[in-house]
């Protein structure tokens, strides 16, 4: 990897995060079915060029931190028929993630 990152790694493995549910214009690697959903950081995958800039012939800088995030299937799909511990993992860039304030409040109480 070349260049500098946007900032230091903001989220640590094990912390819960919410995927922003904002809309996007043009190329974007955040699937709509995960927007607004809460998951757990599994690992920091590294820093990569920003696909939202790269797609439009920009260098894709600053680099964005990419995280592997695990979601519970039952949290994603109402009426999911499989066992409660089935899960799905996806890679989401840091600028699409926010701290999960609701869950933090619950745990802090």
């Amino acid at each position: 990897m070349t260049g500098t990152a946007a900032n230091d790694t903001r989220f640590a493995p094990g912390s819960t995060v919410r995927v922003s549910d904002r809309a996007s214009l043009g190329h974007c690697r955040t699937p709509v079915y995960l927007r607004g959903r809460t998951g757990t950081i599994v690992s920091v995958a590294g820093r990569f060029r920003d696909p939202e800039r790269l797609a439009y012939h920009k260098p894709g800088m600053p680099l964005q931190t990419l995280y592997r995030i695990r979601f519970s299937q039952r949290d994603l799909w109402p009426g999911y028929g499989g066992p409660a511990d089935d899960e799905i993992e996806a890679d989401i860039f840091e600028h699409w993630l926010e701290p999960d304030q609701e869950r933090q409040r619950d745990q802090g109480a």
Partner: protein, 216 residues
């Protein structure tokens, strides 16, 4: 060409009927690709031979490489641990370049955990190890359904999961690509790596199938 005047004649000796690999009218994007390709070749940025060599290189990658890696991982726990821990370095030591485009991740299916890979956004696939993806992998039906109903889709593939196996869908949304090490089939203790590699199918490395049994 000694001089370039405006009395330009086409020197290439083909007609301009596009060669399409599918029936039906050519799409705007196919037309755009053809136009850009021909321009780049005419401008000398690359030759038609370069293009064919690249297509050959892309299509010559096939699941055999993945099958060899899985067979080696089954036979050698140390290799398996290294492959999962640092695929790039482990493959690099074997002279296999996974390329700079994306990072390869290796995951293992067990009696308790079954991984299945999809790219819901397009068709990201570990081409560096498995070659060109199967047509169904790129279909809207697979991409949209396997995230919502993985067990239903796996059943349609004919895969019966162990009762206690948790299903983990891996959506390759960004820069990671996934290679699944399937469960080693029972009754294969005496087999060497090349015999084991015969049992490792492409689909078993995507997670939509088990490896073949030794008698298959």
């Amino acid at each position: 060409m000694s001089t370039h005047d405006h009395d330009h004649h086409h020197h290439h000796d083909h007609d301009h009927a596009p060669i399409s690999d599918q029936d039906g009218p050519i799409s705007r994007f196919e037309l755009l690709e053809t136009a850009i390709r021909e321009l780049l070749i005419e401008k000398g940025l690359f030759t038609a031979a370069d293009l064919h060599a690249q297509i050959d290189a892309t299509e010559s990658r096939n699941p055999a490489l993945g099958a060899d890696l899985v067979a080696k991982a089954w036979s050698d726990p140390g290799f398996k641990a290294n492959l999962i821990d640092d695929p790039r370095a482990t493959l690099g030591e074997m002279g296999i370049d996974v390329g700079a485009i994306a990072e390869l991740q290796v995951v293992e299916n067990t009696d308790d955990l079954h991984h299945v890979v999809v790219c819901t956004l397009c068709s990201c696939y570990p081409r560096m190890i498995l070659g060109v993806p199967p047509a169904w992998y790129k279909s809207t039906a697979y991409r949209s359904r396997v995230v919502k109903d993985p067990r239903g889709v796996l059943q349609e593939f004919g895969l019966e999961l162990p009762d206690r196996a948790k299903v983990r869908v891996l959506d390759s949304t960004a820069d990671l690509r996934f290679l699944v090490i399937p469960r080693r089939p029972p009754g294969t203790d005496g087999l060497d790596e090349s015999a084991l590699a015969e049992l490792v199918t492409r689909d078993s490395m995507i997670g939509t199938a088990e490896a073949l049994g030794p008698q298959s």
